[in-house]
Amino acid sequence: MIWNNWSDFWAMGGYGVYVWGSFGVSAALICIEMVWVRQARNKALSQVAQELAAAQTQGKDWQG
């Protein structure tokens, strides 16, 4: 551990804005991407399930 206290850590020797601006945006984009792929999976599952349901009812109509 090289820091004396937390405020030194956050100040980053005067480079705080640049260092935390880099790490902050990186962390934010990674979080956004993770939410985004989950949504894409949900969307994909819904689309498949919907088309499947439509095909089934269509099949029944045709039989009836």
């Binding site: 980053m12 804005v17 880099s22 990674i30 991407e33 689309q47």
Partner: protein, 253 residues
């Protein structure tokens, strides 16, 4: 071995494999990130030239490396797809592109935040920076091109050609600091000369690089499963998937 490879080249077999593998890579990425950040932010000493500002390296270099590696991976899949006409290749290319675009953006963003205090400029039209910007645009172009063409096989082909041609830019980025007189510094780590960094800084950087690598694999595997689902939606095996059945039940109620 070859037989096994061909077995998993079919989307039907790759889907469950990717499902089993992505959590492994996600766990590895998390563990390596914690370790790498600990070393980089709490253990590695202050740099004698750049003070604490150099710590941007622990995200800048991994993001830049992965922006190139992911593009090369896309070119690899494109080559496979264009020569063997395998369906999975195009899907892998599309699964990789968004993560690659994010890495290229982060490389530029963190580079700007590093350039400002050290060079006095957010941006310069230097060979390294410009070629990385082109890489970012290549990713956006690939995503736009593949999503603009409705027929997936044709979209894969067009995207594949762009991925292959664009891959020529990757060695240009990598060697730009050697070929041209750039403001961007030369490689801190080189295969021929070893490293010019302190051991602990180098270790932290390599661990973060590995963490980004594992993250990119986890994301691509997760994303490709959604792509497979949509593309193969008319196949019986998709209809038989428990998660598809569960979704259908959920939608009925």
């Amino acid at each position: 071995m070859m037989q096994k490879l061909f077995h998993y080249a079919s989307p039907q077999n790759f889907y469950p494999l990717a499902g089993k593998l992505w959590p492994v890579f996600a766990v590895l990425a998390t563990g390596l990130t914690v370790w790498g950040l600990w070393l980089g932010m709490f253990v590695a000493p202050t740099d004698f030239q750049q003070g604490e500002g150099y710590r941007i390296i622990f995200v800048h270099v991994p993001a830049s490396w992965m922006s190139m590696v992911i593009y090369l991976a896309m070119a690899f899949w494109a080559l496979l797809g264009l020569t063997f006409n395998t369906r999975l290749s195009g899907m892998m290319g599309r699964a990789l592109a968004p993560t690659g675009a994010i890495c290229a953006f982060l490389s530029l963003w963190t580079g700007a935040l590093w350039g400002k205090p050290m060079w006095g400029a957010w941006w310069v039209w230097d060979a390294r920076l410009t070629s990385e910007l082109i890489l970012f645009f290549l990713y956006l172009g690939y995503i736009a091109l593949t999503s603009a063409i409705d027929d997936p096989r044709r979209a894969d082909k067009a995207g594949g050609i762009l991925a292959l041609v664009g891959a020529l830019n990757v060695p240009v980025i990598y060697f730009s600091v050697k070929w041209w007189n750039t403001l961007h510094q030369g490689a801190s780590v080189s295969l021929t000369k070893g490293s010019s960094m302190a051991q602990i800084m180098l270790e932290a950087m390599l661990i973060m690089g590995l963490a980004f690598w594992m993250y990119a694999i986890a994301m691509a595997l997760y994303r490709v499963r959604s792509i497979i689902l949509v593309r193969e939606r008319h196949a019986q095996w998709v209809a038989d998937l428990p998660e598809v059945k569960a979704k259908a039940m959920e939608m009925k109620s």
